[in-house]
């Protein structure tokens, strides 16, 4: 098990610097807005002016994690993002199409996926391993796996997180592609400090993460994962899953209900996060917050089936589990 010594999220919920936020979540509505802090409190003004929404969210969350974990420099910075810096990508492509001659360099520089991890590194002066994972809805899980591998080698602390941002053109793309969505498209960033050793700051433990691409039998994979962790379904105090697509969500619901998990312990986190590729990072923060608020909770499984072809499984446990 590795230990989570800080967690910070900026989302459409009051998650930022608000321990116990899980008790005050509400279902997202069409008019829900991203709840942003005053970024000037966290980011130097000279850097802030060039940062898009996803960069501001990520750097603020990353810095808050360092502060909460009382760690000035992590050994590594690992980020997962499904769609990367969309705002700058759109801006760059927009000028590319409409302006003849020279193109503004800032939006091009800031449009790449690895700008997020890079800006965090620059903001805190970190020279360690810096990696970005982008594999659609499993980006965060792969960032977690990378982080856990680093901790199992010679790293003591890894700053890991995920972020994605909503831009208006996504609504048009969704309509043009006739994609039925069960909720609101949204933005979110969640970052965590993962540590090899338990400390006074430890909030919870992360025992296992696994991804299964092109999954064929979700129920068999969940059963195998739990067996490998010596956990029975009935030991799960909570299951978090994205209620995105009826077929896959139904399979997951059926499985846990048939395996002695009460329906009120199975929570659709998408209703709280809205839809973006790395919502499982929001789910992890939600799980950590719930563990911190209720000492009876020991084992929480995040079952990420946001894309029905890909399955991500993350087991989060209380420090006493």
């Amino acid at each position: 098990m590795f230990y989570i010594s800080a967690a910070s999220s900026i989302t459409h919920q009051p998650t930022f610097k608000n321990a116990g936020f899980s008790a005050s979540l509400h279902e997202l509505t069409e008019d829900s807005e991203l709840i942003s802090p005053n970024y000037k409190d966290y980011i130097d003004a000279a850097l802030l002016r060039r940062m898009s929404k996803i960069l501001r969210m990520s750097v603020a969350c990353a810095k808050t994690c360092l502060e909460e974990a009382e760690i000035s420099q992590p050994d590594s910075i690992v980020v997962g993002t499904g769609l990367g810096c969309l705002q700058d990508t759109e801006k760059f492509l927009g000028t590319f199409l409409t302006i003849e001659g020279l193109l503004p360099p800032t939006s091009f520089i800031q449009s790449t996926h690895n700008t997020i991890a890079g800006q965090i590194s620059l903001s805190i002066g970190n020279h360690g391993y810096n990696m970005t994972h982008t594999q659609n809805t499993l980006s965060f899980e792969h960032a977690l796996i990378d982080s856990m591998l680093l901790l199992s080698e010679d790293n003591d602390h890894v700053l890991v997180g995920a972020a994605d941002e909503y831009i208006e053109i996504l609504d048009k793309i969704q309509q043009d592609l006739h994609l039925p969505l069960s909720g609101k498209l949204s933005s979110g960033a969640s970052f965590f400090m993962l540590s090899k050793e338990r400390s006074a700051n430890s909030l919870a433990g992360i025992s296992a993460v696994e991804t299964i691409g092109l999954v064929e039998d979700i129920q068999t994979e969940i059963q195998r994962f739990l067996t490998e962790q010596n956990i029975r379904s009935s030991d799960l105090d909570m299951v978090l899953f994205p209620g995105f697509e009826l077929g896959t969500s139904g399979i997951i619901l059926d499985y846990f209900i048939n395996n002695e998990v009460e329906i009120d312990r199975i929570v659709d986190y998408l209703q709280f996060s809205g839809i973006y590729p790395t919502t499982s990072a929001f789910a992890m923060h939600y799980a950590i917050d719930r563990l911190g608020q209720d000492e009876n909770l020991k084992n929480i499984l995040v079952c990420n089936c946001l894309n029905s072809k890909n399955l991500g499984l993350t087991l989060i446990q209380s420090l006493e589990a």
């Binding site: 003004a45 000279a46 802030l48 002016r49 302006i99 001659g101 020279l102 503004p104 360099p105 800032t106």
Partner: protein, 89 residues
């Protein structure tokens, strides 16, 4: 000339996302790349080259000219005026 300087200040604020700076706060002779002036950096220099082409139709083809031209609002306005006069000939 004064109108050109005002326009330049507005264009710089927009192009460089200088969110907290007003036109009235930029002195004509303030050094753009000095911390006591606007504190711009090398990426801003590239943005200023784009700005000159986008708003004034001027291409900075000689790098040594840029160093002189981008010192302050005054030098930028002089550079634009001179280059436009050359283009008109």
């Amino acid at each position: 000339m004064d109108q050109l300087k005002e326009d330049l200040k507005k264009q710089i604020i927009e192009q460089l996302n200088l969110e907290d700076i007003q036109v009235s706060e930029i002195a004509d002779d303030a050094l753009l790349f000095n911390d006591e002036g606007l504190g711009l950096d090398s990426i801003d220099a590239l943005e200023l080259i784009v700005l000159l082409e986008k708003f004034h139709g001027i291409q900075v083809t000689k790098p040594e000219e840029g160093k002189e031209a981008f010192m302050s609002i005054n030098t930028m306005a002089d550079y634009i005026t001179r280059r436009k006069a050359e283009q008109a000939v």
